[in-house]
């Protein structure tokens, strides 16, 4: 019996086999993403990027792009992600033929393979992939039987078309149940929001409500401006709204919004959002120094006319009324609002066992799985879309414009308060709590160590979370309505 060593090696090291067999685009995409994943984990360890998120995310990215193997197509979950398939001869395993599910595929480029499987329609092709086996006739007229395999991994399948297959996946793909029952339905975003709620002291916002809300609203400039810019870049309404939400600089919000409005693009949008969030926090201090001259960074904020001591009962009353009002206005965003305000209420009620549960278990657990799942979703086939480059540009655009908007809001407050408001506080309108408030205080302390702006900055920062939630609610509620109108307009334009 002749032993085919090449075939044994191909079967043994399937990660390498799938890499070698793949398109040049996918090949280089996988290589780049493996290195990017390693870099993220390294930068997380060094503290340059957020370690809680970047270490699991980086590792997941490495696994998603190395652990690719051929799966029997009959057992694989049908999804939009599966674009390629291969036929393997039952008798001669080295006889591999290629076909693709892509409509625009150019079969003539596949010169490496001796023969192609010619299929007339995409539906026909999908039937074969679904059946898992295929009989073909070679040039001598001989009938050959073989099985159909698709490249995939055993981690996760984000775009499941057949819910029945989830049962199979639960037995095979290790993190799929967490993805299906905690990620794709937004539970993880809500758990993180609950954790953020537990960390927030709304007393800072309640002491200066108008000032905080105004500056935080200005810091949503990126969320506003990016929407038409994204449309001009050729994105659809839901896609444009989702990428615009990056301007709010709130990871769970972007995840929630993109899952609702642009599910097919939620992986790249969320990955771009989280990557940029890590990078921009490092860049914001330089932006502040660039936009605010040193003399203005020394400005002391006016003390409040009356010192308001906000009690826990008042904070709970605020949480209940605001949550109720927001849910009444935007029921579609009620999971997010509920999560945030229940966290605030639990904190203010002083229920320490719940606070520990949400803070220590929910928040850290959800952050860990968010990072890991996002990393595992970063396969080359998902990220190598022509829209990702646009998303990369729009993401950084949204965050930069939001920061500029925040500082602009700070300048407006500076003028309206009789030059007794430090414009640096505007950067705290970007809703990462409490990082942006700390950036504001740090930048002020660099030039004037005795000036304290942290209480004002924290109020603005907390208000930033709420205004981001408002914008998410508005976009999610409005986009489906606009979609219908949009179709009418486009039909008229043609």
């Amino acid at each position: 019996m002749e032993i085919d060593f090449v075939d044994i090696v191909r079967q043994l090291f399937q990660g390498i086999t799938t890499l070698v067999d793949s398109d040049p685009t996918i090949f280089w995409g996988r290589i780049c993403l493996i290195f990017l994943g390693a870099l993220l984990a390294f930068l997380g360890k060094k503290g340059v990027l957020e370690p809680l998120l970047m270490i699991p995310m980086g590792l997941g990215m490495v696994v998603a792009n190395t652990g690719v193997l051929y799966i029997d197509s009959a057992n694989a979950v049908r999804s939009e992600r599966i674009t390629d398939a291969r036929w393997v001869n039952d008798n001669d395993k080295s006889d591999v033929r290629f076909f693709t599910l892509r409509d625009d595929a150019d079969f003539s480029e596949r010169t490496v393979l001796p023969e192609y499987i010619t299929l007339n329609t995409k539906a026909e092709l999908e039937n074969y992939v679904g059946a898992g086996s295929l009989k073909i006739r070679n040039s001598d007229g001989q009938e050959l039987s073989g099985k159909v395999v698709v490249p995939g991994d055993l981690n996760i399948e984000p775009l499941v078309e057949q819910p029945d297959n989830v049962v199979n996946l639960m037995q095979v793909d290790w993190i799929q149940p967490i993805y299906n029952y905690a990620f794709s339905n937004n539970l993880i975003a809500c758990l993180i929001f609950m954790g953020i709620g537990v960390l927030l002291d709304v007393g800072f916002l309640m002491a200066r409500p108008f000032q905080s809300v105004f500056v935080a609203f200005c810091a949503e400039l990126g969320t506003m401006v990016t929407f038409p810019v994204a449309i001009a870049c050729g994105l659809g309404l839901g896609e444009a709204a989702s990428v615009a939400l990056i301007g709010g600089a709130d990871g769970p919000m972007v995840l929630f919004g993109s899952l609702q409005m642009a599910k097919h693009l939620f992986v790249p949008i969320t990955v771009v959002a989280y990557l940029y969030l890590g990078i921009t926090y490092g860049a914001y201090p330089f932006l502040v120094r660039f936009l605010v001259p040193e003399t203005l960074r020394r400005v002391r904020n006016a003390p409040p006319k009356k010192v308001i001591k906000v009690t826990a009962s008042e904070k709970i009353a605020f949480a209940v009324t605001t949550c109720g009002a927001l849910c009444l206005l935007f029921p579609v965003g009620s999971p997010l609002f509920c999560s945030l305000f229940v966290g605030i209420a639990v904190r203010e009620a002083g229920i320490q066992s719940f606070v520990r549960l949400i803070d220590q278990v929910f928040l850290y657990g959800a952050t860990f799985f968010l990072g890991l799942i996002l990393g595992l979703l970063c396969s080359a086939s998902t990220l190598l879309s022509e829209k990702v480059l646009i998303l990369l540009v729009l993401g950084i655009f949204a965050l930069t414009i939001s920061a500029v908007g925040g500082i602009l809001g700070g300048y407006i407050m500076y003028l309206f308060s009789g030059r007794r408001f430090n414009p640096v506080c505007g950067i705290a309108g970007i809703s990462c709590v409490p990082t942006c408030a700390k950036i504001a205080q740090k930048e002020v302390s660099r030039v004037a160590p005795d000036v304290i702006v942290l209480p004002d900055a924290l109020g603005i920062n907390i208000s930033g979370v709420i205004t981001s939630a408002i914008f998410t609610g508005v976009y999610i509620a409005l986009v489906p309505q606009l979609q219908r109108l949009w179709e009418l307009v486009q039909a008229a334009a043609q």
Binding site: F210, A216, F217, F227, P228, A325, L326, L329, V474
Partner: protein, 65 residues
């Protein structure tokens, strides 16, 4: 507004129509979000007004559970 768009859409390029459409609705998005944000700030002030009607008792920050 729909009829306005339909009228302007006829004879214009698709991208031009799309951006005009987005810009027109953006003002509404900003208006709605701004209104809700103002509402929350006003609500906080109203909350103080309502709560001041009741006598304030000193309370412990954290309850034991």
């Amino acid at each position: 507004m729909t009829s306005l768009f339909l009228a302007s859409a006829a004879g214009s390029g698709t991208l031009e129509v799309s951006v005009t459409f987005a810009l027109e609705w953006l003002s509404w998005i900003i208006l709605i979000a701004g209104f809700v944000a103002c509402l929350i700030a006003i609500m906080i002030k109203l909350l103080y007004a309502v709560l001041s009607l009741f006598p304030k008792k000193p309370e412990s920050k954290t309850a034991k559970h």
